[in-house]
């Protein structure tokens, strides 16, 4: 008799996600307000905006986006759109969480936007953000956990394209080992950059193999709508297994280099923030524990706290990148 051994990728029928769960059900913004409607309004808005001349649109190329079901865990409840877009760390527009939303929408233009690919690559270009999205084959939507180094978390439906596509397009030379992401510098329109809270412009970097990982993403939208200015329009790095400060916002330059680049927070306080910034519940921040996190917009007035997962829940996918590394030293 033939006894069939199921392969480890074969899932039982019971594990199949019910169809209704495919649809995004964000966490309600308040008990009285259901934010599903932001989705509907967004879709309608996009349909209308695609009729506008390009100069009047935000960076909208690739919308509406296709949902990539491989990157949608039905157990993840997306955070309400209003929370994602009103609670931001974007020091270019102020150090308070509520500052970026008003300050990034007072005349700072994110369209048109040019991004420069440079360094150790064959295809050095300066390219319009919309054109880049189209070159990448449009945009898709993925739902990722988001963990801030300040011990709070969200679940965000990002729209955009895999970073690996951009890297293939840039065509790196064999000497390229790291990628640097430079945020815009415009003190005239970014009040925070007129002060010296950080060393401007904001820099972030990844090892090339990290940047090439399936999960690394370049976001151009949230919830199927073009990414709002306060969230880092029009191009924002997304690396879900790392702390939020690695997600360089409003990127103007992507530079391929041979040596580990400086990253802003490491320059500011290297004992607190490292180059890797992998989410790790066992390595504390000098001032607080990383063992657990506040879930934004959950649990009513008292809120909710949950245990932080190794590599923010992406351990299976990314742990291999750091095999043999002392994560306590390379935090």
């Amino acid at each position: 008799m033939l006894i069939r051994t199921p392969k480890d990728w074969e899932l039982p029928e019971s594990a199949v996600t019910p169809e209704r769960d495919y649809a995004l059900r964000p966490r309600p913004f308040s008990p009285r307000r259901e934010f599903l409607r932001t989705l509907g309004a967004g879709a309608a808005g996009l349909a209308a905006s695609s009729l506008l001349p390009r100069s009047l649109r935000a960076t909208t190329a690739g919308f509406p986006t296709r949902v990539n079901l491989d990157y949608r865990d039905p157990a993840l409840v997306p955070t309400a759109y209003d929370y994602i877009t009103s609670y931001n760390n974007f020091y270019e527009f102020g150090t308070g969480k509520a500052d970026p939303k008003p300050n990034a929408n007072k005349g700072w233009k994110t369209e048109p936007w040019t991004v420069e690919l440079t360094g150790l690559i064959r295809n050095k270009v300066k390219i319009d953000a919309n054109d880049l999205v189209m070159k990448m084959g449009g945009a898709e939507q993925r739902v990722y956990r988001f963990r801030c180094v300040e011990a709070w978390s969200m679940v965000i439906p990002w729209d955009g394209f895999p970073l690996s596509k951009l890297i293939a397009f840039a065509d790196p030379l064999p000497e390229a080992k790291y990628v640097t992401f430079t945020t815009f510098l415009d003190p005239k329109n970014a009040p925070g950059q007129r002060g010296s809270a950080l060393d401007w412009p904001y820099l972030e970097g990844l090892r090339l193999d990290e940047a090439n990982h399936d999960l690394a993403f370049m976001a151009t939208g949230i919830y199927g709508k073009p990414i709002p200015n306060q969230n880092g329009a029009p191009l924002r790095l997304v690396v879900p297994w790392k702390y939020g400060f690695k997600y360089g916002k409003s990127i103007v330059k992507i530079d391929f280099v041979a040596r580990e680049p400086r990253n802003t927070w490491k320059v500011m306080a290297s004992h607190e923030y490292g180059f890797y910034a992998n989410v790790n519940p066992t390595v504390d921040h000098p001032r607080w524990s990383q063992a657990s996190e506040r879930v934004i917009g959950a649990g009513g007035l008292l809120g909710q706290r949950q245990r932080t997962l190794m590599f923010n829940g992406y351990e299976k996918q990314v742990a291999g990148l750091y095999a043999g590394m002392d994560l306590r030293r390379f935090y």
Binding site: K97, K101, L198, P286, R287, S289, G297
Partner: protein, 212 residues
């Protein structure tokens, strides 16, 4: 003068001290401000800590103001409320600490125990404990029993509490703590001015009048 008369009234000062405790209800329930609702407990936590620091700094300006402007009726009015304002600073610090316990609770107290050992939080806790001791010893009966000199010496710990609180508040930030400068900066200036005036004004006396 009307302002001084108002400030002399205990009822008025009570209202002024209680109102900041109720303030979070406005953004959370009335305005339903998304940036406050993202994590209401954190909003309340930071707010109460802020109020505790402001009140601590405020009460430390009272006696220097009296020394520097001995005939200013507002300075005299304020000095009637030193105990009330000092104790309310403790009350807000205690609220802040209680909210922190709730905030960090993640099914166990391990995270709390780990965090409280870090300098950032240890300084806050130490300041709270000092304020607790000062509050307990602010009961009339105890003041009498301790005697003026011992009581005064003990209550000089409030300056240590202020230093600890300023460190704690500054360390809560990732960048330059401007807020801490404008909360505690004026206190520092007034205290320096007070000491300077007392030194200059009492050259003949062997022991300067302690103003604390």
């Amino acid at each position: 003068m009307f302002a001084a008369a108002l400030l002399r009234s205990k009822a008025f000062v009570w209202i002024v001290l209680v109102l900041p405790g109720l303030w979070p209800a406005w953004p959370l329930f009335v305005r339903q401000d998304p940036s406050a609702l993202t994590d209401p407990l954190k909003f309340i936590l930071l707010h109460y800590g802020f109020v505790a620091c402001v009140l601590l700094a405020t009460v430390l300006t009272f006696s220097p103001l009296r020394v520097l402007f001995p005939r200013w009726d507002i300075a005299l009015a304020l000095n009637r409320h030193r105990r009330l304002v000092g104790v309310s600073s403790f009350a807000y610090a205690l609220l802040h600490f209680s909210v922190q316990v709730l905030y960090v609770y993640d099914g166990g107290f391990e995270t709390l125990a780990k965090e409280i050992r870090k300098p950032f939080q240890l300084t806050g806790l130490a300041a709270l404990l000092i304020l607790l001791v000062l509050t307990i010893t602010s009961v009339n009966a105890l003041i009498r029993r301790m005697g003026a000199r011992r009581w005064k010496n003990l209550h000089r710990l409030v300056y240590v509490a202020a230093l600890l609180a300023a460190y704690h508040q500054a360390d809560a930030r990732k960048t330059f703590p401007l807020q801490v400068v404008w909360i505690f900066g004026p206190v520092l200036l007034l205290q320096i001015a007070r000491v300077w005036k007392q030194r200059r004004g009492t050259p003949a006396r062997a022991v300067p009048t302690p103003g604390a």
